[in-house]
């Protein structure tokens, strides 16, 4: 692609890695060469860098696409997902999934009849990234009993959710209840009442 096609959110390939343009500025002295000043984010590692291109230069568009998938099962060294549109299956390595493994549910979340939609990023048709929803609802499978009469705020206790993640929850949360978790911070957001 020509540099003049650069825009915010354009995806380009640099040194064999896909990058997304996060900030974009075009500057040009009236009779001089235009400069395209970009901040770019590595779509795999998240690393950020600055690059300036001059008008007339060419660069590679990155062959990346994001597919909506549902989670099927864990294997010995990876996690298998299925494309919700084509039913094609793909295994993501444990390394790639990382701590997001705590937010993988193979069944529809409580209160819903649809499986959770995960966004899997493909680069040259190879899975390179996983985006989990910003919040998920999980069951508390283990937690210490609450202490009666303690009404002070900001007092928490340890709990474990169904996928094995340990989180701090308010004292009033009981085993078997459902809570909403922020997947970025891996922290408790609120109690969710599920009509059973």
């Amino acid at each position: 692609m020509d540099v003049s096609e650069l825009r915010k959110n354009a995806k380009v390939e640099l040194d064999g890695h896909p990058y997304v343009v996060t900030e974009f500025q075009f500057v040009k002295p009236g009779k001089g060469q235009g400069l395209y000043k970009c901040k770019l984010k590595n779509m795999i590692t998240g690393a950020v860098l600055d690059r300036t291109w001059r008008s007339g230069e060419r660069l590679e568009a990155a062959n990346v696409d994001s597919r909506t998938m549902q989670y099927l099962f864990a294997g010995s060294d990876g996690f298998t997902f299925m494309d919700s549109a084509t039913y094609e299956q793909v295994e993501l390595s444990a390394e790639l999934v990382g701590d997001d493994k705590y937010f993988l549910l193979d069944a529809p979340p409580p209160g819903s009849d649809q499986p959770i939609a995960y966004a899997v990023l493909f680069y040259n048709n190879r899975p390179v990234g996983l985006d989990v929803p910003s919040h998920v609802v999980m069951e508390v499978t283990e937690c210490e009993p609450g202490v009666k009469g303690d009404t002070a705020t900001n007092v928490t206790k340890g709990a474990t959710i169904q996928t094995g993640l340990d989180v701090q929850v308010p004292l009033f949360i009981k085993q078997g209840e459902f809570i909403k978790i922020d997947t970025r911070s891996k922290s408790y957001v609120e109690r969710v009442n599920i009509g059973k």
């Binding site: 500025q25 075009f26 500057v27 040009k28 009779k31």
Partner: protein
Amino acid sequence: MNERPPLSTPQRVAVWDAALDATRQTLRGAGLREVLTPVRLSAVAVEPFIEPVAAPPGLLATSPELPMKRLLCRGAPSIFQIATCFRAGELGDHHREELHLCEWYRVGEDAPALRADVEHLVFVVFDAVAKALREPGLPMPPAPGDWDEVGMLDLVEQTLGLRLRGDEDAGALAAALEGATCEEARRDVSRLMADPLATVRDERLASSPRAHALAAWTAFFSAWCDACLDPWLRARVHRGVHVVDFPRALAALSAPDDARPVAHRFESHVHGRELANGYRELGDADEQRRRFEDVNALRASLDLPALPIDHDFLADLRSPGLPPCAGVALGLDRLVLLATGRTRLADVAIELGGLL
């Protein structure tokens, strides 16, 4: 300064009406006549990095310069025009593919008269826009109180620690740049030129020392503007600045000085933004043709298509010939932008969307 919101449609209409009226009153009051020249042309001024938009069988004007100079050749008095122009691929906070130039020519006068015009016009339009806009609680941005005039090569020396004469060839310019004493600025300029002076090593330029020098100076100027000139201007945003006396290779369509190896070209900057570009006009048809050909040689080395040369314009330069005159083009969109205190042309432009 607080971020100001985009103008509403009634505000856009009010400020453009005020700016256009003030511009016309100012230039008519100075004795200039308003003209309209064709927007679709068979050829435009051949520039390295100004790309015309095709409008078969011609091109849309990138500026009204050549048709207005042909009028002057044929006996027109001092004239001005508010012209809609097109420059392909220029798209950013301060660039739009469709722009409005106020361009004017004074017959029998020289560039300093135009710089005085620019200063006056900027003041008048700032005042008119402030009156039209009236934003309670938001002080309007002030027009520059004072203006400085500084030679481009003096500014190069000040920012880079490098004294250039203005007539260095490509090799001499590259060698001189190595010796710049402001190390950080030199690194920034070199980095922006990528492989330093890569363009000048292109063999397609080797046969033409003039085109070779144009390529080297253009690459240097583009990088220096970003690395040195812009920060220098941002440090004095409350003053207007005329950068004058460009090196010979960057003369574009301006007349060379008789004594020094510089050209009578200037650029005017307001609030750190380039606003206008003016010349003592070049009347030498052969020199003008060579410059257009040099630009096309540079464009070929950059894999850009050659632009058609306006032979009718060159013929009029030969006979009847261009009277001694000076001309300047000022970006009206940017002037309105600065006068409203906004930061993006999209916040002040009159546009309805849907075309591009």
